[in-house]
């Protein structure tokens, strides 16, 4: 597996490289004057501190905010080491590279170094007149290249937290920062684009579209993100990329099969390939092995780990299974709607 990964990412730039492409596209988009977040939204996230009372509108200096405004939303920032280049470009291919990467990501936890940061997130559900608080006050930071596991019992709000992190749902209170930009109050269209470009999601029940073949399922995010014309013009490159990804997850023999004809493990592999096709920065996994037997689940976890190591892909996984959570770099526990470090 590692050799495969190494081979894939050692290819010349002429072949499809999702992450690079997406990033440059987003930068171009902002330059064209797409909706920019407000001054409050662009303000840098506070250091992860227990008392983040002023999280909504942290006072920033005049110079700070102007500097922020001229910075494109997702432009790599020079002051952040490791952001200047796409993640997998930094790393030397080969198994020996991974310990270094881990060491690097753990070495200097600068306050604003979190790739994905939640500050005081709260979410409650309303049933009739009864308000059920699910997340009370979640402060969580995920560093670049980190494999974070969130464990918690069923009903502890793990999935809700993941949905909030993936901007699928809006928090009742608190804020969410991605690469230092506030994202929870972005306009719907921007959040859609964010989900498409920057987040990959996988689910316990795979959630592949039953009408489409494996290959088409993997291509779906690209079809969503691109206009018809864009897609058709580059469909060969996209198709090749999708085939490469499917090869990477070990499904190259199942391109034309419908999800119905795949096993659970194969479906989850296809879902992972789909999550990766746009070259996301963060992979959000919701109990990815919850529906699989132990061996298949381990294989999926192996795949996630190798992606994390080889591509420096940031992964946030929620699970109730401690044995599975052990595989991650870091593990946090969600208890009573709050995060406890383990």
């Amino acid at each position: 597996m590692n050799d495969e990964l190494a081979e894939m990412f050692a290819r010349p730039a002429a072949t499809f490289r999702p992450a690079v492409m997406i990033r440059s596209r987003v930068a171009a988009g902002t330059a064209r004057g797409e909706p920019r977040p407000t001054a409050a939204a662009t303000s840098a996230p506070p250091p992860l501190a227990p008392a983040a009372a002023d999280r909504q509108s942290r006072p920033t200096s005049e110079a700070d905010s102007t500097a922020e405004k001229i910075t494109p939303i997702f432009e790599p920032r020079a002051d952040q080491p490791g952001r200047s280049e796409p993640p997998h470009a930094v790393h030397e291919p080969g198994p020996t590279a991974s310990p270094h990467a881990e060491a690097a990501s753990h070495a200097s936890p600068a306050p604003n170094d979190y790739q994905l940061q939640a500050v005081g997130l709260a979410k409650s559900y309303r049933k009739a007149s009864v308000v059920i608080p699910v997340l009370r006050h979640v402060d969580l930071g995920v560093r670049r290249g980190e494999f974070l596991a969130i464990v918690g019992q069923s009903g502890s709000g793990k999935s809700t937290l993941l949905h909030l992190l993936g901007t699928l749902d809006a928090p009742d209170a608190g804020s969410l920062f991605f690469d230092g930009q506030r994202i929870d109050n972005l306009p719907t269209a921007d959040r859609d684009r964010l989900r498409n470009h920057c987040f990959g999601m996988i689910f316990q029940f795979y959630h592949l579209l039953p009408e489409l073949t494996t290959l088409e399922n993997v291509l779906t995010p690209l079809m969503i993100g691109k206009s018809v014309w864009q897609f058709l013009r580059r469909r060969r490159a996209y198709r090749q990329a999708a085939e490469q990804l499917l090869e990477l997850v070990g499904l190259s023999h199942r391109l034309k099969h419908r999800p119905k004809e795949l096993s659970g493990g194969e479906m989850q592999r296809a879902a992972i390939a789909r999550a990766l096709i746009t070259g996301p920065d963060v992979l959000l996994a919701d109990e990815p092995t919850g529906n699989l037997d132990r061996a298949t689940g381990q294989a999926i976890l192996d795949l996630l780990c190798s992606l994390n190591r080889q591509e420096n892909l940031t992964i946030v996984m929620v699970t109730h299974d401690l044995a599975i959570a052990e595989r991650a770099n870091r593990m946090v526990r969600l208890v009573d709607g709050q995060i406890e470090e383990c």
Partner: protein
Amino acid sequence: MYKLLLCWRYLRTRYIALASIISVMLGVATMIVVNSVMSGFATEMQNRIHGILSDLVLEVRSLDGMADAEWHMEQIRRVAGEAIAGMTPTVVVPAMLSFRHADQWITRQVQLIGIDEKTQSQVSDFGKYLQHPENRRAMSFQLREGGYDTRDHQGGPEAKERPQMKRAGWEHRRAMAEIQAFNRLMAQRAAASVPSESLRSDGTDSSDSAGLVDPFAAVQRPQQEPVFDPATQQHTGAVLGIVMASFRRPTGEDSFLILPGDDVKLTFPTAGTPPKIATDDFTVVDFYECKMAEYDSSFVFVPIRKLQELRGMIDPATGMGMFKSIQIKLKPGFDGDAIRDRLAEAFPRNLYEVQTWRDRQGALLAAVQMETAILNVLLFLIIAVSGFGILAIFFMIVVEKTRDIGVLKSLGASGAGIMGIFLSYGLSLGLVGSGVGLVLGLVFVDHINDIAVVLGKITGKPVFDPSIYYFYRIPTIKDPWTITWIVFGAIAIAVLASVLPALRAALLHPVEALRYE
């Protein structure tokens, strides 16, 4: 792109949705067929009515007519001369037609029209409807030797042979005269033999008895003097509506009761108050077939001069005839209604009435239009009802696809994009439904006559009975505009029906959609 792909896949995998558009399809097909047939009938009828009637008619309200057609025509020219292409005076009077068939007198009520055979064809298609080719070229009230059409010259390839018409003309007249002469001879012999016996036994004879002189003998004799020889002479010519003289069998063949060459009696009121009864013999010289049963069964045309004489409509001092109406043909491009209004202004309304051909058949034309409109509304309601079927099935599909919608949203699809899937799905269903309906409707219209024949064979009853309609084929007109409207209307309904489910899909909350089991 995913919209198109998913829409295409849904179209190919969700056959229940295809079932929902069968009603769209049938509605479109039915509307196309009904509109084609109705407009075919309406156009055919309008053409015929217009062909029969002149563009405008100036009519005297009194049946007795008005003197001096020339002066009236002069007035008309003065008022609207630039628009007039031709005019002809006519006399119209209700009459009774009697003719002998199979040793019985058959009497019918007719509309007796006195026409000027030279100018009549200038104002209407009168000449076109006659059965003798020469008469169609130049109408004459003289009986032709023969050569009448043996099949309907307007009927097209379906027209059946009319073998009886082969002997029409002088040939038939001579044959009939011979039979009559023979019959008369036999009757005389029979009469001669019986009275002579009685005469001998009685020894008396009315004519010679007692030397009494019939005081009216002198009056009667001159009448009998010019002996009429039916084998070489004819009465005044008359053109009969063909339905009066024949009947059509269900097979479409015509059987004739009388033929050109036979004599008929016409009885009509004279002019003056109170009207008296006048009767005269006429010889049938041709048949008039305009394919409008109403006219074909009531019109009898005779020379106007003869009718004026018989009705006492000629001023003895000036020799000027009276007329009942003046038929006017307009030059192409002139608006009949406008000219009608100008003429109505020029002539006193209490004595004259001016009508266009549409006015005269307005009720019929309006009825056809009304029928078409009502049928269209009803049939469009069928399509509208099928719209609700689409709505229901779409709601089901949206519910079924709830999780997929959540997945698409988690992959970054926007609400508008999700809505697009279902709207384009509705659009493609509408396209498929109305497309198939269009083809079905057009094929049906093209083969409507074959279908009518087959249906007739299956049910044992002719669907389209030529003896009722006097068409050999069902007339159809495929109006591209009407068809376009129907097709686009159906597509619009399909799209509209999918708006609500699509909106529901677009507004689904992604988290709830993902949780949906």
